[in-house]
């Protein structure tokens, strides 16, 4: 208390302290039991093994990782060599593609001609 207690306050406090100290044996025993029950509960939760919490936490982290992966798949750029191979594959599988390759024509000439046209 910030101020000095008055005589009346001191007297009431002394009486209440006296009354609290007069609790009967049964009540005291029940209070002790209540205290021990609360402390047992605290000790049980403190004794819980670490993996009891780490397993659910790990599972939650895995689920979160999957959700993020599915929601935002990382954009992968195809390398230039792969793009070129795909072009060549399309050329070979295209029904309208020139059939000179099969006929053993001068492929190098057509490559040179293509380069000249692009430049």
């Amino acid at each position: 208390m910030s101020q000095e207690p008055t005589e009346f306050e001191k007297r009431t406090r002394a009486l209440l302290e006296e009354s609290s100290g007069r609790l009967d044996g049964r009540t005291l025993s029940r209070l002790t039991q209540a205290r021990h029950a609360a402390l047992d509960q605290q000790q049980k939760s403190a004794r819980a093994p670490w993996w009891r919490w780490s397993v659910p936490a790990g599972a939650a982290a895995a689920v979160l990782a999957v959700v993020i992966w599915v929601g935002h798949p990382p954009a992968v750029e195809a390398p230039a060599s792969l793009a070129k191979s795909v072009d060549e594959f399309e050329l070979l599988t295209d029904a309208d593609a020139p059939d000179f390759v099969d006929e053993g024509e001068d492929v190098e000439f057509y490559e040179w001609a293509s380069g000249e046209m692009e430049s």
Binding site: E9, L16, E18, L31, A38, Q41, A46
Partner: protein
């Protein structure tokens, strides 16, 4: 030798950390036990005056102990007192409200609850041998008058008075325990004091 020491250090690290954690838990447990033992009698008295029933008061104190240990054991021990009394005050309030509702329902029913179904225990009820019979009688009368006057106070005044006067909480801690402003605590306490002084000034 160095390699041995290094390896021993590496392999001992988790064991030491575990021991330290267990030691910490043990210290918290001891501190909690000391705290609960230091407040339980006054807490019971506060609950008893608020609820006017020993069984309900014991339940309220036990619930408050459980809740404190379950939810706030990791808080600093200096925070436990206001937190404990906040929980207790809420529990008392809940029980008072439940009793009011039950009272309304029971008023419509012709059945009355048995109140004194417990056996009288002469040892438990035996008076303490320290005080003389006359002194004890005076104390009994004064305590009876004070407790009757406290029970007639409005709940918030009663709570403010008991937390400050009996438990010795300061205004700030009382405000925290009651969930109100410091100004309200001062007002409730002042009014409680005035009522008690007016009623008991000559008696105690």
């Amino acid at each position: 030798m160095t390699a041995f020491v290094t390896l021993a250090g590496v392999y001992n690290m988790p064991v030491l950390a575990g021991e330290r954690s267990r030691e910490q838990d043990l210290m918290t447990s001891r501190a909690l036990e000391q705290f609960l033992a230091s407040v339980e009698k006054r807490a019971f008295k506060i609950a008893q005056l608020g609820l006017r029933n020993d069984e309900d008061a014991l339940d309220a104190v036990q619930d408050a102990m459980m809740k404190l240990v379950q939810s706030y054991a990791s808080r600093g021990s200096d925070e436990w007192r206001p937190l404990f009394y906040r929980i207790l005050a809420n529990r008392i309030h809940d029980l008072q409200r439940r009793r009011t509702v039950r009272g309304r329902v029971m008023a419509w029913l012709p059945i009355r609850e048995a109140e004194d179904d417990e056996e009288f225990d002469p040892i438990a009820q035996a008076p303490s041998p320290e005080a003389s019979p006359m002194r004890r009688l005076e104390l009994d009368e004064a305590i009876g008058a004070l407790e009757a006057a406290l029970q007639d106070l409005p709940p918030r005044q009663q709570q403010a008075f008991l937390l400050r006067n009996l438990e010795g909480l300061d205004v700030s801690e009382t405000a925290s325990a009651m969930g109100c402003s410091e100004g309200s605590v001062k007002t409730h306490y002042f009014r409680a004091l005035e009522s008690l002084r007016a009623r008991l000034g000559e008696v105690i």
